[in-house]
C-alpha cells in the first residue's frame, strides 16, 4: 500500500468514476460531424483519457509520497491549518456550512428571493459564530434593505419571485410597492 491512505483511495476512485461516467455518457452524442473528422466526442474523450493518465500519475505520487506535496511548487499558498473533526457536532457544523446555501438555491424558485433572503442572511451570520440577536437582526435588516434598494429600486433587476403562495404574493406586494413609489417620485 506504500503511503496510501483510505482518503487517497477514495480520491482516486472518485476521479476514476468521473472518467467512467463521462466516458459512458459520451456514447449518447457519438455522432459524426460532416465537416469535422473527430466528431463531437473527439475533444471530451481526449480530455478523459488524459485525466485517467494523470489520475494514475497522482496515485503513483500518493503511493510513494503520501500527502506530501512536490517541493518547489509555486502559487500554492502555505497549507491552511489542518482541521480536525473530533465529534459528530464538528461534522454537523461542516454540513451546515456546505448544505445551507445549496438549500437556499433550491428554494429560490418556489419561495423567491424577496421572502427567502432575510432568513439566509441570518443563517450565514449565525454560521459565522455570531450569537448576538441585536447584531443578527440589525445586519439582516441593513443588508436586506441595501440589496432591495440596489437591485429592486435602482437597477430593476428581475429577481426570482417564487411560484408558491403566499411567497409569490409577498414578492408581488414588494414589486407593486416599488412601482407605486416610482410613480409617486415621477409626479
Amino acid at each position: 500500500m506504500g503511503r496510501l491512505t483510505t482518503s487517497h483511495i477514495i480520491e482516486t476512485v472518485v476521479w476514476g468514476l468521473i472518467v467512467i461516467i463521462f466516458f459512458g455518457f459520451s456514447f449518447e452524442f457519438d455522432r459524426e460531424i460532416e465537416i469535422y473528422k473527430f466528431g463531437a466526442t473527439g475533444w471530451p474523450r481526449t480530455i478523459l483519457i488524459l485525466l485517467a493518465l494523470v489520475t494514475l500519475g497522482n496515485l503513483f505520487h500518493l503511493y510513494r509520497n503520501g500527502s506530501i506535496g512536490e517541493a518547489g511548487r509555486v502559487g500554492q499558498s502555505e497549507p491552511d491549518d489542518e482541521m480536525t473533526y473530533n465529534s459528530l457536532r464538528d461534522y454537523s457544523k461542516l454540513l451546515a456550512i456546505l448544505i445551507g446555501p445549496l438549500i437556499y438555491a433550491i428554494l429560490l424558485k418556489p419561495v423567491g428571493f424577496y421572502f427567502l433572503t432575510p432568513f439566509f442572511i441570518s443563517y450565514i451570520i449565525v454560521i459565522f459564530g455570531e450569537r448576538s440577536l441585536k447584531f443578527i437582526l440589525g445586519v439582516t435588516l441593513l443588508l436586506y434593505l441595501i440589496l432591495l434598494l440596489l437591485f429592486m429600486v435602482v437597477l430593476n433587476a428581475p429577481l426570482p419571485q417564487g411560484n408558491m403562495s403566499p411567497f409569490y404574493d409577498y414578492s408581488a406586494f414588494l414589486l407593486k410597492l416599488n412601482t407605486q413609489l416610482k410613480q409617486l417620485s415621477i409626479w
Binding site: H61, R73, F128
Partner: protein, 497 residues
C-alpha cells in the same frame, strides 16, 4: 499620432457630459471590479441598453474605461480576501493574500495599483502607436492554429502553478476543460452531457462557476475556520511599496507588459491568460522560485501588470478587425451596432474621432487608476476591519444575484453553490482552483480553434507545425509540460514508499 491624441483628449474633456460618462466609467469599473459577484461584466450588461441614449463615442469609451479600471478593481478583493473580483486577478491572490496574512496588504495593494497603471498606460501607448500595423501582422500570422497553441501553452503554465503537485495541477486544468465540454459542441452544435436538463444545453455559464470556485469556496473556508475556532482576522498593514521595491522588479514589469500585450492581441485569449502567463514567466525567470505563493511582491507585480497590459491590446482586434476578444469587447460590438456602426478597418476612416476619444480615455483611465487607487488604498484596507460575518452574507448574496441575472436561471445559482462545495473540497486536497477556472474559460476556445486549425491544415500535423508562431508556442508549452512531468516523476522515484 500626438495631434490625434490631443484632438481625442479635447473631445473627451471639452464636453461636461462626456467627462461625467468618463468619471462614471472609472469609478463604476473600480467599484464593480472590486465587489466579488458583480463584476465589470455585470455593470456593462446592465448599462448596455442605456448606451443607446449616448453617442457612439461616449458608449464605446464608457465600456473601454470600465474594462481598464474593472481589471484593476478585481485585484483588491483578491489581495484582501483571497476572492479575485474576476478570473484575471486569480494569480494576484497567489502572493497578494499571503502578503495580507503577513500584514503587508498595503504593499500588495500599492504594487497592484502602480503596476496596473504602468501596464495599462504602456498598453494604451502601444495601442495608439501601432493598432494598424499590429492588426495587419495579426491578420497574416495569427489564425486558429496559433490561438490553440497559445491555449495549450497557457494551460501548461496554469498546470505548473497552484496545485500541490504537477498531477493535481493538471487534474484541475482537465476538470475545467471537462466542465467546458458540457453544452453544445462548437463545431456541429451537438448537445453534450446535458443529463436530461434542457437548461444545460447552453452549457455551464462562466460567471456562476467562477463565482462558486473563487468566492463561495473561500467563504466556506472562512466559515469552517470560524466554526472550528481557527479563524484569525487578517492584519491591516498600511505601508506602501517604496519606489526602490518596484524598480527592483523592473524586468518583471517589462516582461509582463510584453506577455500581456501579446495575449491581449489574440482574439478570445485576453487578460486572464495574460495574468497566468505573466505570473508563470515571473516564476520561471526568478532566482528564488520557492518564495512565490508565500507573499512575493513580484507575483502581484507580474500578474497585475500583465492583465492590464492586455486591456489595451484587446482593443486592437476589436477596432482594427472587428473581432471581439471576450465578453466585454463583444458588448462593445453591440454598442457599435446600436449606433449603426461596424468595428473594423473602415472605422479608422469613417469615425477617427470615435477611435481617438476611446484611445485617449483608456490612457487617462489608467492614469486615474494610479491617482484614485493610491488615494483610496488606505480607505480600502480598512475593509479588513469589517467583521467577516457582515461581509460573508453580502458577498454570497451579490454572487447569487450576479449568477442569476446573467441568464435568469435558478439553476445557475445552484451551479454556483455546487461549484463552491466542489471548490472547497478540492482546495483542501491541494488542487488548483485557478487551474479549474482557466480550463473552463479556455476549454471552448481551445476546442473551437483546434477544430478550425485542423480543418485548415487538412489534419496534417506537419503543416500545422510549419507555422512559426504556432511551432514556438507548441515547443514552449511542451517544454513546460515535460519539465513538470520530469520533476514530478523524479520526486516520486527519489522518495521511499
Amino acid at each position: 499620432m500626438i495631434e490625434h491624441f490631443l484632438a481625442g483628449s479635447a473631445t473627451l474633456f471639452g464636453d461636461p457630459f462626456t467627462i461625467g460618462v468618463f468619471i462614471f466609467g472609472v469609478l463604476g469599473g473600480m467599484l464593480f471590479g472590486a465587489i466579488p459577484g458583480v463584476s465589470m461584466l455585470t455593470l456593462c450588461a446592465i448599462l448596455l441598453p442605456f448606451t443607446a441614449q449616448l453617442t457612439a463615442s461616449q458608449g464605446v469609451m464608457l465600456f473601454a474605461v470600465i474594462y481598464c479600471t474593472g481589471t484593476y478593481g478585481g485585484a483588491i478583493t483578491a489581495i484582501l480576501f483571497n476572492i479575485p473580483g474576476a478570473p484575471e486577478n486569480a494569480p494576484t491572490a497567489f502572493d497578494g493574500y499571503p502578503m495580507t496574512q503577513q500584514g503587508k496588504a498595503g504593499k500588495a495593494v500599492g504594487a497592484a495599483v502602480l503596476c496596473s497603471a504602468i501596464g495599462g498606460v504602456a498598453s494604451a501607448i502601444v495601442m495608439m502607436a501601432a493598432t494598424e500595423p499590429l492588426a495587419k501582422w495579426a491578420i497574416r500570422n495569427i489564425g486558429p492554429p496559433e490561438i490553440f497553441a497559445l491555449v495549450f501553452f497557457g494551460l501548461a503554465v496554469a498546470s505548473s502553478v497552484g496545485g500541490k503537485t504537477m498531477w493535481k495541477g493538471w487534474m484541475s486544468v482537465l476538470l475545467g476543460l471537462l466542465i467546458a465540454t458540457i453544452g453544445q459542441d462548437p463545431v456541429g452544435g451537438i448537445n453534450r452531457y446535458n443529463f436530461g436538463f434542457a437548461d444545460l444545453a447552453a452549457g455551464i455559464a462562466f460567471v456562476p462557476s467562477i463565482l462558486g470556485f473563487f468566492a463561495v469556496s473561500e467563504i466556506f473556508v472562512q466559515a469552517e475556520k470560524k466554526a472550528m475556532g481557527k479563524f484569525t482576522a487578517p492584519k491591516v498593514g498600511l505601508s506602501f511599496p517604496t519606489f526602490a521595491e518596484i524598480w527592483f522588479h523592473k524586468i518583471a514589469v517589462v516582461r509582463s507588459i510584453l506577455v500581456g500585450f501579446f495575449c491581449g492581441i489574440l482574439p478570445g485569449i485576453g487578460a486572464t491568460l495574460a495574468a497566468f502567463m505573466g505570473y508563470g514567466e515571473a516564476v520561471r525567470w526568478s532566482k528564488d522560485k520557492t518564495s512565490f505563493g508565500k507573499g512575493n511582491i513580484e507575483g502581484v507585480i507580474s500578474s497585475e501588470t500583465a492583465n492590464n497590459a492586455a486591456t489595451g491590446a484587446a482593443m486592437i482586434p476589436l477596432l482594427a478587425l472587428g473581432l471581439p476578444g471576450g465578453a466585454l469587447t463583444a458588448m462593445m460590438v453591440a454598442v457599435f451596432q446600436m449606433h449603426d456602426l461596424e468595428p473594423g478597418p473602415l472605422v479608422f476612416y469613417n469615425s477617427p474621432d470615435l477611435i481617438w476619444v476611446v484611445f485617449a480615455a483608456m490612457f487617462y483611465a489608467n492614469l486615474c487608476i494610479l491617482f484614485i487607487g493610491l488615494l483610496e488604498t488606505k480607505t480600502i484596507l480598512h475593509l479588513l476591519k469589517v467583521p467577516f460575518q457582515f461581509l460573508a452574507p453580502l458577498i454570497l448574496l451579490l454572487a447569487s444575484i450576479g449568477s442569476y441575472i446573467g441568464r435568469g436561471l435558478v439553476l445557475d445559482v445552484m451551479v454556483m453553490f455546487g461549484a463552491g462545495i466542489i471548490g472547497f473540497l478540492l482546495r483542501r486536497s491541494g488542487y488548483s482552483i485557478p487551474g479549474i477556472v482557466l480550463g473552463i474559460i479556455l476549454g471552448k476556445i481551445g476546442e473551437q480553434n483546434f477544430a478550425q486549425g485542423m480543418q485548415m491544415v487538412h489534419y496534417d500535423l506537419l503543416t500545422y507545425l510549419s507555422r512559426p508562431v504556432c511551432l514556438i508556442l507548441i515547443i514552449a508549452g511542451s517544454l513546460t509540460l515535460l519539465s513538470g512531468i520530469y520533476k514530478a516523476v523524479s520526486t516520486s522515484l527519489n522518495s521511499k514508499a
